[in-house]
């Protein structure tokens, strides 16, 4: 089955983080999605750490200069 990819570049500013959390929350434990963005989304990582501590893993697949790809996985319970 192909991957879950969310290109957040197209989403209006106010909807960006809610859309990302919605996608994360829809994952089954052990699943992951790839977030595509036009800047380093590290503020989002801090928000994940504050709101979903220990529930996610975060690994960069591509780090600029024009595109960032991050694999965000949901930990198995």
């Amino acid at each position: 089955m192909s991957a879950i990819e969310l290109d957040i570049r197209l989403v209006p500013p106010r909807e960006k983080h809610p859309t990302i959390f919605r996608t994360f929350d829809a994952l089954a434990p052990g699943e992951a999605f790839t977030l595509v963005n036009d800047h380093d989304p590290f503020p989002l990582r801090h928000q994940f750490e504050a709101t979903r501590p220990g529930a996610f893993d975060w690994s960069y697949l591509e780090q600029g200069p024009a595109v960032w790809r991050v694999r965000i996985g949901k930990q198995r319970a």
Binding site: M1, S2, A3, I4, E5, L6, D7, I8, R9, L10, V11, P12, P13, R14, E15, K16, H17, P18, T19, R22, T23, A26, F33, V36, N37, D38, H39, F42, P43, L44, H46, Q47, E49, A50, P65, A66, V67
Partner: protein, 315 residues
């Protein structure tokens, strides 16, 4: 998933002009372009194929082709152009008659290419197309999404019906038009596309001709540091920073730059069009404990204000 920009935004459609357009797309992090062609006359067919061969040899990244019209005499050349570029062609569903679809499918099969019929966010239109399309593997659907003028409430049913045949999504918006499309269903649509594991091309296209100049500025602006609309206040070295007109990708640096410029005891007042709580979490993680305070002055739904005060060094 690949992201392309329509050559409707390009000013110069010569080979050199399209090469420069492709380079600008690359600098913007886009994966390629959608080539607009005009398959509407005998004169056109030779030109389309020649342009495709030229682009292919120049290494331009053509992810899709689109024609507003399709006349029968152009079909073989258009299919060959698509095969040369290894990219699907889309035409509006209303531009072709349902009874012509078997012949079109065969022409595209002969060339080794795929023809996508573009439709609106309209379940009835898709249901009418599906039986004719499902019989031919060289035919598929291209979804034209127009957040400015369409109700995207029906997107879930459209996605369910079209998903198997969906070869392309074209968004009339995004880019410099993101902010106007707030609350129009783009975020939920992208979420649903992701969850159905759609990884095909998404093409960005200006929503109207009137916004073309903004798209051209957006494409050529690349990533210069957004300076924002910051203005220092005279009193106590406080800053006000309205980042709503700063591109999302440049906002964090703008805000952090404003914060770093504060003298201890001074306050940065932020105006943003999204919940600034992510800034609080970022400062919490990056700044030493107890060196700032963060206070939301209001809480949306369209505009948020927050105050960040850098605390005086402890005596």
């Amino acid at each position: 998933m690949t992201l392309a920009l329509s050559t409707a935004v390009a000013q110069d459609l010569t080979p050199a002009g399209l090469a420069a357009f492709d380079a600008a797309c690359r600098a913007r992090g886009l994966d390629g372009l959608e080539l607009e062609v005009d398959a509407s006359g005998d004169m056109a067919s030779g030109a389309i194929e020649a342009q495709a061969r030229q682009l292919q040899s120049s290494g331009a990244r053509v992810l899709a082709l689109r024609s507003e019209r399709l006349v029968r005499s152009c079909v073989p050349a258009l299919a060959r152009a698509a095969a040369v570029l290894a990219a699907p062609v889309s035409v509006p569903a209303r531009a072709v008659a349902v009874h012509a679809l078997p012949e079109l499918a065969e022409a595209f099969a002969d060339a080794g290419a795929r023809l996508l019929l573009s439709h609106a966010t309209d379940l009835d239109q898709i249901v009418a197309l599906l039986p004719a399309i499902a019989e031919h593997s060289t035919l598929g659907l291209a979804w034209d999404v127009r957040p400015a003028s369409e109700d995207l409430e029906g997107r879930g049913a459209v996605l369910l019906a079209a998903r198997e045949q969906l070869g392309l999504v074209r968004l009339y918006g995004g880019g410099p038009e993101q902010r106007e499309q707030d609350g129009r269903g783009v975020g939920p649509l992208l979420h649903e596309l992701a969850m159905t594991r759609y990884t095909g091309p998404i093409v960005l296209h200006p929503s109207t001709l009137a916004v073309l100049p903004r798209w051209r500025r957006w494409l050529s602006s690349r990533g210069s540091a957004g300076c924002g609309a910051g203005s220092p206040l005279t009193r106590d070295g406080d800053f006000e920073l309205d980042v709503r007109d700063v591109e999302p990708k440049d906002r964090l640096e703008t805000i952090l730059g404003g914060y770093r410029a504060l003298e201890p005891g001074a306050t940065l007042t932020l105006t943003v069009d999204h919940d600034p709580i992510c800034m609080y979490h970022t400062l919490n993680a990056t700044e030493p404990e107890g060196t700032f305070t963060f206070r939301k002055l209001d809480d949306g739904p369209e505009v948020w204000h927050a105050e960040v005060t850098k605390l005086s060094a402890k005596a």
